[in-house]
Symmetry: D2
Subunit: 402 residues, 4 copies
């Protein structure tokens, strides 16, 4: 028994086939549509790409075997998702884009058999998309989830939900929503949240505008959503009442890491574009790639890629062991969000005027990865959590020493 | 005689009025059009804003008095341009946007009386726009201007010009072009360039596509331009034959610094948006602006703003003394291009999800300032030039010591 | 009236002579003693160097004319002190080292004629050294001066002082102390401090150990000092009772800036050592100074030097105008403390193994400049103060807008 | 078969015992001698600590079982060495300090049975120390080993060696030297080096001065060494003639990684010192450790520690697989050297005046870790190598595509 970083032959094969599929099939589609998935066709485009992924045997690597997936654990997802992320459209093609991928993960862990049949099965197969309705505009649930203000109150045979959400990824066109609502307590308190499942065509769900964010590759946009006297039956409760925050944690750590996997793939593409260019172009009496300042950027990209991947391996392994891994996922997410931005930014810089134009995918990648330092917890909130843990432990030691 | 950093009363008054005009008149227009000047109306929009600037007495602070301007030197331009730059549309409104502003500067120094009448006068008054056609796609004149490939050859009573340019700012809709073409020597040689003036409707000038760059606030876009057997008379020569690179230097240093002035204004707006927000919003039991990690970002913004401005003051003063100031302008440009990006990036981060959306101007500002690290010489080229000077001086000392 | 960055002929002459004196006379002494002023001879060494400075006409540039100095204002001190700082021993040679230089400045502003005669005159002439006893070990006055715990209580015809200070620069061998003690209020309150003057041989003053800090160039060390029933007469009060914090501000801003001036000189020497070396040595088929990664470090040094100097010019000009300049000095100090460290660190890196050894002065310079990020207010405290100002102003605007 | 990051029970036990031994036994000795191993007693101190390590069963974790060690592979060494590195004297106590540890590693791979008996056995047992004599002053073998100038020429029954080395760690007091000398070819050529083994008391070996480097924890210093007509028999050749550079590679990758392990331990101690302090001390109305800017530094330390360790795990695993792992070790070394410096620097900053003094071990740790960015290849050389690989691969692809 000892450290081992080898993937099984089956997983390695899936990695290889995902790489081939992403580069040969998906990347040309992304480039054709300049990375704008909505302008590129939205769900029609998605359905076509997903069929191709099914044909290539790379569809749904994360979904349980009984729902048609490959059943990979987190450790094995990492290299596969990274390969899919090499194209901004790759995760959609494999049905592992946010938020569907995280919702599959959570439903597989928490939903009851009826809910799995009704919601998980079609989601895993790509028949519908889904949305996870948690974030609210200030002063509601944002970086601090306990500020949750959306309310679910007891109604005849079920619950009546009212609230205003935003930055709800994939809401436009989703088949169903997982809704986080307060069933007890007050905003600012840590307990009292419940998750509900509701078909998107339920009366009382209204999808508002797409928020015009820097990124463009997430199907269904980042939308405002309004719950206006939405009535749901008791059977709509996911898991148990008042345990919503707890379940959100089940989703949170893995969802953070799959974000890292996908964006690492995107950053690598940016790096590869720059490498290819500086290996070919000349200037100042030399190949650009042989100039010291360019070499520094190239090496820093390689270091950032390696460190992101290494931190990801660690966090995934902790998650697979059943560890909540809060610290490891915070560290990996914070490092990765900043590293992928640096990688793409340096790649852009190496390509000069072309780099900041639409003639190369770098400007697009740059817009796409920037929000990652905010989504899924701003870097500052993660750093705050990391520091709280280490200082908290030290305070406990001090008290015990007295 | 001693250090003095005071502006004269007249200049201070112009600074104040420019601030008021920019914030009250121009900023609402920018926000209405989300910073996209072409989508916002292009030249029609420009003409309206310029009339308002004339009415407010803030038009053309840089132009010579005899052409209706305020005749400010570089030192005095700095605070005025910075105030105008507070809105992305401000420089256009005051007729001090690139490349017109730099072209006015250069024509005032080099053009003969007839050329001034024909080209400078209408440009200074905002009757036409102009373009400076120097940059070429690889392997032509890019970061290394000596690679110039566009050719002007002797023709009957004038010159015949052929070449392919790109990233020509403002080309679409320009009234005339200043064209850099090789009249002797070969690409890679430092001499042999000449500048020519040509009305945009001359036969043989073809404006191609707008290059889809991250920035959107420059009227007339960044275009490809083709010169195809363009015939110009001898009177079209700006200054003297074969002195084009030398004249480009006249334009270069000041143009770099006015870029810094304008973008510093844009960065300050980003900072102010963030400050206003974190001073108001609460989270984690405090005003956001009282949280240490936010305070760090705020202070770093203040430091970056102060350092950019201080370097600018130095470089402008050297230029006003008649010093070529190559080192001071390289230093100020390099620092500023990176600082304004950091300022806007931190401002975006402080505003979280709103920051990366169109609900605040920060994402737009971020797109706008990023190319500044590439335009007017990538940071790497400036660093290379700075290092060459210091090492060159040390080598000379070593030789002399022997 | 306009921006002017020219020094008068007299000041320029003093700059030039200070440069020559520092390099020809002082630098060889510093190198001989490897920058350790105590090991190098302490006060005996100081007296010799100061005589040489007097002979060269460069002694005491800051002291009032009536006390034998050159009477320079802050703006003019900047380039002179920078030249003196080029050697770690230069400030001592010119009698402008901390804390004497700041004490001269403060006494010139606040002391009464008798005090000037007794304390300022010999200090300005280099006949004695002095110490400024403010900082205390936790939980006393450190980064937060209001925590002051040293007490002065009314005694017969004067005051009895008790307290424990540390990091008191120059205490060992000082001729007199300026003592900050609480005369009213409680630790944590902003008022109630008074400054007292006391000869070092007064009964009740005990100088403890030298704290073993990274830096070695300050004569008299950084010491612990104990006041044990020290009796001082009423005539020992500097200025007025209970105004000590206010007077400390008079000293603080200028003292911060003179630190920057001196350390900027030290950083420039580090840079010059590296430049000379990379301009001469070869490696990897090239002069080291022509390698891109070295060029990047060289250029970043040049940028850091220029930005530090430019921020210093600004802050000094504000101080000379009579502005408290708290923000400008905080910004300049914070930037400078980090910049000089980066400059020396890069210089060390450029010199490889030699750089981290005693064969070059870089390792010594690195030890010397590191504490500057802590002394005179840690960077974090300055950033906190800068942010407080900008957020405070925004809050006021918000309140007024309501 | 899948990713596994678990250590075996035996290794985990050794990790735990090493942690206890280092903290309980070694750390007090280091602190007593302020981290200066020579001043603290040199070899006498070493022998005492090594006996204690033997008694605790933690001695020589890396040495082959037949020579009394624990026979750990690289992956398992990582956490053990890190625990030992928690004290600057820990590696010496466990006999895993540079250069002995790397020499044991190389001799175990390359020496013949007689050489193992004569040199490896006493070295592994701590009976003698050793030195690895490769680095030369300019223009000899430094960052670029192929510049090797030390010559070994055929002599009667052996070789005669002449040359000048420096930065030879541990030379003063070493029992034997491994000498890299050129047996064919010219300086600048990649082949032609041979390794020789020579007892330190051989005629013709002269150890010169200790170079006064920032670090103080390596026993025997960093010395100049002169080989003056040193005669060695044929039996002194380690491995085969002219294969010295190849063997150096065997030593190089692992030696780099063990440096990282040890220095990571040192950085962690610095971090722990700071954490304990900010968890206890108050200031600005709060525990220091609850202030946002301190939290940022704490979190960045945690991230740097985690990333260093994760990159180390990866590189060690590649080495254990038999991969030369040049890229993985370059990446891990470059990241680590910069990260450990940042960690210690932030820790120092968090502790303010105490941090830069001898009252805490941070200033000492800072001096100790700084040279790591130069030793074993400056960061710039590693970045150059990393970039060469990625650009080289891209160029090959371009050629093949044509």
């Amino acid at each position: 028994m000892s450290i081992d970083l080898t993937y099984s032959l089956e997983v390695q094969d899936l990695i290889d086939r995902t790489r081939t599929f992403t580069r040969d099939v998906v990347l040309p589609i992304e480039d054709e549509h300049a990375g704008d998935i909505t302008a590129g066709g939205g769900d029609a485009l998605r359905i076509g790409m997903q069929q191709a992924a099914k044909d290539a045997g790379v569809f749904a690597p994360h979904a349980p075997l009984e729902f048609g997936g490959h059943g990979l654990n987190m450790s094995d997802r990492a290299p596969v998702f990274e390969e899919a992320g090499y194209s901004l459209f790759g995760p959609t093609a494999l049905n592992i884009a946010a938020p569907d991928e995280g919702n599959v993960h959570m439903l597989a862990h928490i939903a009851n058999p009826e809910q799995k049949q009704q919601f998980l099965a079609p989601l895993a197969h790509g028949d519908v998309r889904s949305a996870f309705a948690m974030t609210e505009p200030a002063p509601g649930a944002g970086s601090d989830p306990s500020a949750l203000t959306t309310r679910a109150v007891r109604a005849d045979g079920g619950w009546r939900i009212n609230g205003h959400k935003w930055f709800i990824t994939g809401a436009d066109g989703a088949g169903f929503f997982i809704i986080m609502a307060r069933t007890s307590g007050e905003p600012g308190q840590r307990g009292g949240a419940t998750m509900f499942l509701a078909p998107a065509d339920s009366q009382g769900i209204r999808v508002g505008r797409h928020i015009d964010t820097l990124d463009r590759a997430m199907i269904g946009g980042h939308c405002e959503v309004f719950f206006e006297d939405l009535l749901v039956p008791d059977a709509a409760v996911l898991g148990e009442v008042d345990r919503g925050f707890e379940y959100a944690q089940v989703r949170l750590g893995p969802a953070r890491m799959t974000h890292v996997m996908r964006w690492l793939g995107a950053a690598r593409r940016g790096h590869d574009v720059a490498v290819a260019r500086v290996a070919e172009r000349e200037g100042f009496g030399s190949r650009l790639g042989d100039l010291g300042m360019v070499q520094k950027m190239l090496a820093d990209n390689e270091i950032d890629i390696a460190a992101t991947r290494a931190l990801l391996v660690r966090a995934c392994w902790e998650l697979d062991r059943g560890d909540p891994a809060s610290n490891a996922t915070s560290i990996a997410k914070t490092y990765a969000a900043e590293a992928v931005f640096r990688i793409v930014d340096r790649s852009m810089q190496m390509c000069g005027g072309m780099g900041v134009s639409g003639d190369l995918p770098l400007a697009r990648l740059s817009r796409e990865v920037r929000p990652f330092r905010v989504y899924d917890g701003p870097s500052e909130v993660h750093r705050w959590a990391i520091a709280k843990r280490v200082v908290g432990a030290a305070k406990r030691e001090l008290r015990e020493a007295k």
